[in-house]
């Protein structure tokens, strides 16, 4: 039987169970508690890290979309020249391929933009503020460098800001956080695998006499391995299920605010993908435990020969 087919066969046997085989390995309290507790803790952490990675990913995508969707033209000139320069700027923008629309912001819109810094009662009429034109590109985008060069030549009072200077590092940071989240998930999986392996090795060592008796009466390696693997897999599954349930309960009561300017912190939530992936955490923990215990058991049986 190929190794893959052997794994599948053992997985089926683990799921199906065998009450007689289950009883041949004594229930060892300490390793059982260690496995269940670590599986619960790791599962709890995994759901949070999963939410963190997914939130960071969503934020990166959102910022990327916003980055692609908007540019601003800023006209700095004396108040009396602003209207004329704005008209000229809109004419130039209207001739640029790749620009869907260009619109000068109203006083109210400019006031709203400055309100976080200067308050609601900003007297725009006595403050020398630049005129802002919102530029919306078409899907294929436009030649920002070419437009900037044309503006420098024909309308030096205008400056093009395609938001990349401040948005791009944020997008890179959000993408890095997303990568960090997935790496943390990988580390949690490795740690859990190590804990289960240690617990399985301890249990196998403590049950050397049991293994000796089973061998005496003709038990094959697969039978002995299955007895231990099933026990550890079920422990990991139950512990991880509890951890996942606790994490989901926390998410249900955790306040989130998509409009608050906190990035990952205020947007930390599972999202549709997270609600689908979170229930898979215990399944993944069980699979991890299955392979870790199987490897530990095979090594231990080889050594005990």
């Amino acid at each position: 039987m190929s190794s893959f087919a052997g794994y599948i066969q053992q997985l089926i046997e683990v799921v199906r169970g065998d009450p007689d085989a289950d009883r041949v390995v004594p229930k060892s309290g300490q390793t059982a508690r260690l496995t269940i507790l670590s599986a619960a803790a790791m599962s709890f952490l995994s759901v949070f890290v999963l939410a963190f990675a997914l939130s960071a990913g969503r934020l990166a995508t959102l910022w990327q979309v916003e980055l692609a969707q908007g540019s601003t033209l800023r006209i700095v000139a004396p108040e009396e020249d602003l209207s004329e320069l704005t008209e000229r700027a809109l004419e130039i923008l209207g001739e640029i391929p790749g620009i869907a629309s260009a619109r000068a912001l109203s006083d109210e819109e400019q006031k709203a933009l400055l309100a976080p810094w200067f308050g609601e009662e900003l007297p725009l009429d006595i403050l020398p503020t630049p005129r802002l034109i919102a530029v919306t590109p078409r899907r294929q985008g436009f030649d920002a460098a070419g437009l900037a060069a044309q503006l420098a030549r024909d309308l030096p009072e205008a400056r093009l800001d395609d938001h990349s200077t401040w948005r791009a590092p944020l997008v890179r940071a959000a993408s890095a956080l997303r990568g960090l989240g997935w790496a943390a998930l990988g580390l949690i999986a490795v740690t859990m695998g190590a804990v289960v392996t240690l617990a399985a090795q301890a249990s196998l060592g403590a049950n050397a006499q049991v293994i000796g008796v089973l061998r005496l009466v003709g038990a094959r390696d697969a039978y002995i391995t299955r007895a231990f693997v099933r026990r550890f897999t079920l422990r990991a599954l139950s512990g991880a299920a509890v951890g996942m349930a606790l994490a989901i309960a926390v998410f249900l009561i955790l306040p989130t605010n998509d409009d608050a300017p906190g990035g990952v912190l205020t947007r930390l939530s599972l999202g549709p993908a997270g609600w689908f992936l979170a229930p898979l955490v215990p399944v993944f923990a069980a699979l991890l435990s299955f392979f870790a215990t199987r490897a530990a058991a095979m090594t231990s049986l080889r050594k005990q020969t």
Binding site: D20, A21, R23, V24, P26, K27, V210, G212, V213, L214, R215, L216, V217, G218, A219, R220, D221, A222, Y223, L301, T305
Partner: protein, 225 residues
């Protein structure tokens, strides 16, 4: 069935025995005697592949143990009934479950097997102790349970290390009668024992050979037995 061919075994650098050859053929009945520490238990362990000989070869049912993998050795052990001096039980299981263990690990437990276990427990006087755990049994009861477990699969060979050490003469005779019956059915039997009277009583029922392990050699015992 089991052949030891010119084997030697050393433990911790000290030679325990060498030049040992023994063939357990169908229908053969052997007693293995010798002073304490002469290596009787070791020889029995070599017979079922629990230990590897330093030189020479051990063949189980025609295959060299040195060339068999763990699963092949396990399958060969299902054809051998082994009675250990110290019983070797799973203490968290009941006596009945321990006796059934060879059937359990080979997936042969069914209603017929369960009835067979009940019969065997009754025959060895363990019916009332069937649901107790091995640590609750007396030394004699443990040896009877070990013998019951050894024969539950109707093995082709029975290897017994001091099987009657802690039990009275009457029960000894009953257990030996069971082994003699198995032997008459063509099973090979090897019993390691110090009990000379047991050997004499058995020789009255069956043509048993007596081999003695002494001074690192295995020799046929003389007519004094």
């Amino acid at each position: 069935m089991i052949e030891l061919d010119d084997i030697a075994y050393a433990y911790d650098g000290r030679a325990l025995f060498s030049g040992v050859s023994l063939a357990l053929t169908p229908g053969s009945f052997h007693f293995l005697t010798g002073p304490s520490g002469s290596g009787k238990t070791t020889l029995i362990r070599l017979c079922y592949g629990a230990l590897a000989a330093n030189t020479g070869s051990v063949r189980l049912f025609g295959k060299n143990v040195a060339e068999m993998n763990r699963d092949q050795v396990a399958l060969a052990r299902r054809r051998i009934g082994i009675v250990h001096q110290d019983g070797q039980f799973l203490d968290h299981l009941s006596v009945r479950e321990n006796v059934a263990l060879p059937l359990t690990v080979s997936n042969r437990m069914d209603d017929e097997a369960a009835a067979q276990i009940d019969d065997l427990l009754a025959w060895t006087g363990l019916s009332t102790s069937a649901d107790r755990s091995p640590p609750e049994l007396s030394g004699g009861e443990r040896q009877r349970a070990a013998l019951a477990r050894a024969v539950i699969m109707s093995p082709e060979v029975v290897l017994a290390d001091e099987p009657t050490g802690n039990i009275d003469a009457e029960m000894s005779d009953r257990l030996i009668a069971l082994l003699v019956e198995l032997n008459r059915m063509g099973r090979a039997v090897l019993i390691a024992t110090h009990d000379m009277s047991l050997i004499r009583r058995t020789k009255a029922q069956v043509a048993a050979r007596v081999v003695r392990l002494t001074k690192g050699r295995l020799e046929m015992a003389g007519a004094d037995l």
